[in-house]
């Protein structure tokens, strides 16, 4: 256990060191996934998509009761309406996404032309703008509702994020995301991995810290604390603010790269959005 912990930490420590010391994304992914699988030997791999509820039977029971009348249902039906309602020009989202709405597993992905990571919300906004509509705020409100519908339609899809080897900028974006994940920040001096790596499964007061593995599969989430549905980047903002650091822009470069790294770590897990969390 200590050895695997040391290796995971080594990923973080290597970031400050020369590039030559760094592992490949595939090696990172194996180290990362195996760390959590060994740390929680009673959790089947696919159950990591359920976060802290994979670890805590009492919490899971309460959560399963909530899931019988899912709090995200209104968001899903609003999103479904949005998907089917034509824009002012008569076109719909389906004109931009002929394979839609179950397209969540295709995001995020590396866009060679743009030279950047593209998120689902970016492409949905691109579709809106191409049809003369105003873009929506990516992480809340109607965009989060539209994402809730798309997530539901994408349930069970397995996401395998690719880092194209013929474009070094893709690897650079991944590495930036990884660096973000392991960098301590804010007045509290916490990195993402401080709480969700070696301390996952421990309690922060009465809350169980969820394992990092599986964090990206269930978005958007109806969070009781929010009283509404919100996207992954909204959660990123909240996490950064909680450690008293500066939050970044939703769909901005920092969070896009972070999502790229985290979804790559979660590759192979089935999608289970939208989710319900405390």
């Amino acid at each position: 256990m200590n050895k695997t912990l040391a290796i995971v930490m080594a990923i973080g420590l290597a970031l400050g060191a020369a590039g030559a010391l760094q592992a490949t994304p595939q090696e990172d992914q194996a180290t990362f996934q195996n760390y959590f699988i060994k740390r929680f030997p009673n959790v089947p791999k696919d159950d990591f998509i359920n976060g802290a509820y994979a670890l805590d039977p009492v919490g899971r029971e309460n959560w399963e009761a909530i899931e019988e009348f899912p709090p995200y249902e209104t968001a899903v039906s609003n999103g479904e309406k949005m998907w089917g309602t034509p824009f002012a020009n008569g076109k719909t989202y389906a004109d931009c996404f002929p394979d839609g709405p179950g397209i969540a597993a295709r995001y995020p992905h590396w866009d060679k032309e743009k030279g950047m990571v593209v998120t689902l919300t970016m492409d949905l906004n691109k579709c809106r703008e191409a049809n003369g509509e105003k873009p929506l705020k990516p992480e809340t409100g109607p965009m989060a509702e539209l994402n809730a519908y798309i997530a539901l339609e994408s349930r069970g899809q397995v996401r395998n994020v690719e880092i194209p080897e013929d474009d070094p900028r893709a690897l650079a974006a991944y590495e930036k995301g990884r660096e973000f994940y392991f960098t301590r920040r804010g007045q509290f001096n916490f990195s993402c991995v401080t709480c969700h790596g070696a301390n996952s499964g421990n309690q922060l007061r009465s809350e169980i810290l969820s394992p990092a593995f599986g964090h990206t599969t269930h978005w958007p989430v109806y969070r009781s604390k929010w009283g509404e549905i919100g996207g992954l980047h909204r959660r990123y903002k909240g996490c950064n603010e909680q450690v008293r650091a500066k939050a970044f822009e939703a769909d901005g470069e920092e969070y896009r790269n972070l999502e790229f790294f985290m979804t790559f770590m979660d590759s192979g897990l089935p999608l289970n959005g939208p989710g319900a969390r405390k």
Binding site: M9, Q187, F188, N189, F190, T194, C195, A198, N199, N202, Q203, L204, R205, S206, L209
Partner: protein, 122 residues
């Protein structure tokens, strides 16, 4: 001697801390803070919030991230070393998960004295 000076200038609550201090650690390396005020800081979500990660005798719903805060004097060679640990735990261990309460000014110097005095009493 330093602690006695603090006691003389401290508020009424501080006196309690001094009594405790005389009873438990009359050694040369004596705490400079106010034990009762330190306890409040340790339990306050907006201040030290030590209870979020550490079991503390008498504290409700403690976290399990850090070690239990018991028998502190058996674990730290001096009050000053303990204060340094709370001020910036990354000095002793760069990978420590604990926030650097002094270095990042999560607590004032006075609050650090108080919370260290409280820990030293455990």
């Amino acid at each position: 001697m330093i602690s006695l000076g603090k006691c003389a200038t401290g508020a009424a609550v501080a006196a309690l801390g001094c009594v405790l201090l005389v009873g438990t650690s009359a050694a040369a390396d004596a705490p400079a803070g106010d034990v009762a005020a330190g306890k409040e800081i340790a339990m306050d979500r907006t201040k030290g919030n030590c209870i979020a990660c550490h079991m503390i005798p008498g504290g409700q719903s403690p976290g399990t991230i850090g070690p239990a805060l018991v028998a502190i004097q058996a674990r730290y060679p001096s009050f000053d070393k303990l204060r340094v640990q709370i001020h910036d735990p990354t000095v002793a261990n760069p990978m420590s998960a604990m926030p650097p309460f002094g270095r990042n000014r999560l607590l004032t110097e006075k609050e650090l004295d108080d919370v260290t005095a409280y820990m030293w009493s455990l």
